[in-house]
Symmetry: C2
Subunit: 411 residues, 2 copies
């Protein structure tokens, strides 16, 4: 008997939010079974289940133990997998559900943000050989002592990719409530396009910039194991966006996505005598206190004094300022300014590497519309600018129009 | 270090029905910890959780696979154990929760009604030695292939008793929403008494007769392993009822409980030529179709013809009548009668064995109140009478008054 082709499918919480939606998912899976696929399905918790469980725990404690939180939250996926198995049985498809524990999804012991170390394929393969659809609880595993662990936000995507990897298939479909990855947020920009393809690197950059349909770890995993991640809607049959190695992409845009995020604030420390070790001291201290610093610029001004500006998450701003204040004397700095109403607008694209003048075009188009750039940072595949918050939407629109509407910049 | 005394406590669904109730339970457990006990806690699913999960499955299928149903329902207890652990942490008590899988509650593979075969005490003892309260998900286990199984109705009681047995303690407390075991249903009879003690045998008979605070299997287990089951309220600190070996009881009543149940119906097959094998043929056939027959009487009438009357659960009546109709010709019987409006009124007590005339007193008191007895069955510790349904409440009241009010019959 010829080995059947294995496809791994992941359905997010909104896709299995009600019993009717679960039945729809079952119908979609049946289509693949009828076409001769071996189907492995990863499901998230139904709709708002996780939020409800969190709320329940909050009624009892503000500081739940992370082990017990994982014990609690992992029930959400266990409910979904059993209901989906029942829905498949109901339409005549043989199926069996497994918890993370049952297929030995072994993780490290880092509760609430665990990393998958291995998965046993024995039971899965045995069930697939028995022509069963295999349904796996996403987001969860167990550590070496069989404590239940969860994988953190977006963990079910990572479960799906890891399963594709251990089962030796490149086909992993991520069903969600959007049609794929767009060149910008469709709620913000009218003429957005759905991308047919996007590279792992661009997807990672978009995730980092807050425009993530997918969570970073699942994309990193896909890149490492060369999985083609097909992000698509569970509400229709349109093809979505395939996240793949850039070498395999048929059509590459110079810029494939424009994003903005408003959740960071800017801190500027002025007039620091310019001597070695200042930045190390400052950012070392912030790091010790687990404050994530995103963009950093250092400029040398008059009298050999420097200014350092950087961005932190808004909810870390007070703490960061407190730490900086404690350093003022030691650094010899004169003042600290903060600005909360900023936006970080970014353009991401693998084509930037090979296309000259992209940065210049972006600065130009912003300037033409009277938008002042306060900070700039660049990477191989992205350019981010800090601007005044009030211009966030305009900036995205004009960059998108320049690169992705009308005559598109194809590289 | 002297070994601490281990107590096993089980809290039912109503006792952990809200986060506030879970906090109350945590407070009660703290009291035991403060008094130097090692506490092992078994909890059920919160309040109506199990019903809600069943309703969810019904939206998807009328005939859920029992494996998937157990996968679904076992999440209820997993939620409770994690929340109770958090509530204990919140008041400074170290605690850890375990699923059935994590402490290897190994059962047979009989989904939805599995029997416990073994429990590993390694992790529990290790946690108790570390001065942790151990919280175990009741009602659930795993079979030899690690499929999740549930123990059926009242399964958490059985989990608690089994834990007491493997941990070598006789102390098992069953916390519930009633104060203990009463001599009759307090909603029916005014002057009921809470029993201080009751024997395993009486408790089993009461469970069989539908008056069960406890499910039969947990009582059988307790009897087998000599566990003293303390049934008490989670809402106060009053002592409840201790289920124990009858040899250890301090005070024995001739009759310790009076019950009635209305969920059976009577079938009478008339004028069967009296020859060997008739009963075997009839009840063999009903048994093959899994129809549970409770009371049976056979009477010989005129012309050497017999009548057989028996009771079945009302929801099996139609099927039973259909099967009997198919036998009419073979048996040579003349007619089948059915009666749905019946009650089975029972008196249960270990004292019956040693007290003469108990049956006579019961028949007498029923007759004095104009209640006709249609069928009678007796066991070592119980007498049951089938009467017209309209007299159910009256019959319980008058038997209760005769034996359990005023001058009580003590043996």
């Amino acid at each position: 008997m010829a080995q059947k082709k294995i496809v791994v499918q992941k359905y997010g919480g909104t896709s299995v939010g009600t019993s009717e939606k679960i039945q729809n998912v079952a119908g979609r899976i049946k289509g693949y079974v009828d076409r001769g696929y071996s189907v492995v399905v990863v499901v998230s918790a139904m709709g708002k289940t996780t939020d409800q469980l969190v709320a329940l725990s909050r009624e009892i404690t503000a500081n739940p133990s992370s082990r017990e939180m994982d014990m609690l939250l992992s029930t959400g996926e266990q409910v979904s997998i059993s209901l989906l198995a029942m829905a498949l049985h109901e339409i005549g498809i043989d199926a069996i559900s497994y918890t993370g524990s049952q297929i030995r999804v072994i993780t490290d012991g880092n509760f609430s943000n665990a990393k998958i170390e291995s998965i046993s394929t024995d039971r899965i393969k045995q069930s697939l050989d028995g022509n069963k659809v295999v349904i796996v609880a996403g987001f969860q595993g167990i550590d070496a002592d069989e404590n239940i662990t969860t994988l953190g936000r977006g963990g079910s995507d990572t479960s799906a990719v890891a399963l594709a990897a251990v089962l030796g298939t490149r086909d992993c479909e991520i069903y969600t409530d959007v049609d794929g990855v767009f060149t910008a947020d469709p709620r913000l920009v009218q003429n957005t396009m759905k991308l047919k393809e996007i590279s792992y690197e661009e997807m990672l950059e978009l995730a980092r910039l807050g425009a993530g349909v997918l969570h970073s770890r699942s994309v990193e995993f896909s890149k490492k194991y060369n999985i083609r991640l097909h992000v698509r809607s569970s509400y229709n049959n349109e093809p979505g966006t395939i996240v793949m190695p850039k070498e395999e992409m048929m059509e590459k845009f110079v810029i494939s996505g424009v994003t903005s995020k408003m959740d960071e604030a800017k801190i500027t420390i002025r007039d620091i005598p310019d001597r070695p070790g200042v930045a190390a001291r400052l950012f070392g201290l912030l790091g010790e206190h687990k404050i994530y610093v995103n963009m950093i610029i250092q400029s040398t001004g008059r009298d050999n004094k420097a200014s350092i500006s950087f961005t932190v998450m808004k909810n870390n701003l007070a703490k960061a300022v407190e730490l900086c204040n404690g350093l003022m004397e030691e650094l010899g700095a004169s003042a600290i300014d903060t600005k909360e109403d900023i936006a970080i607008v970014s353009a991401v694209g693998v084509g930037m590497i090979s296309s000259y003048g992209v940065a210049g075009k972006i600065f130009n188009v912003l300037s033409e519309h009277g938008i002042n750039i306060e900070m700039i940072s660049t990477s191989e595949i992205g350019i981010s600018c800090v601007i005044d918050g009030m211009y966030a939407e305009l900036a995205v629109k004009v960059i998108h129009k320049e690169f992705l509407e009308g005559d598109k910049y194809v590289c």
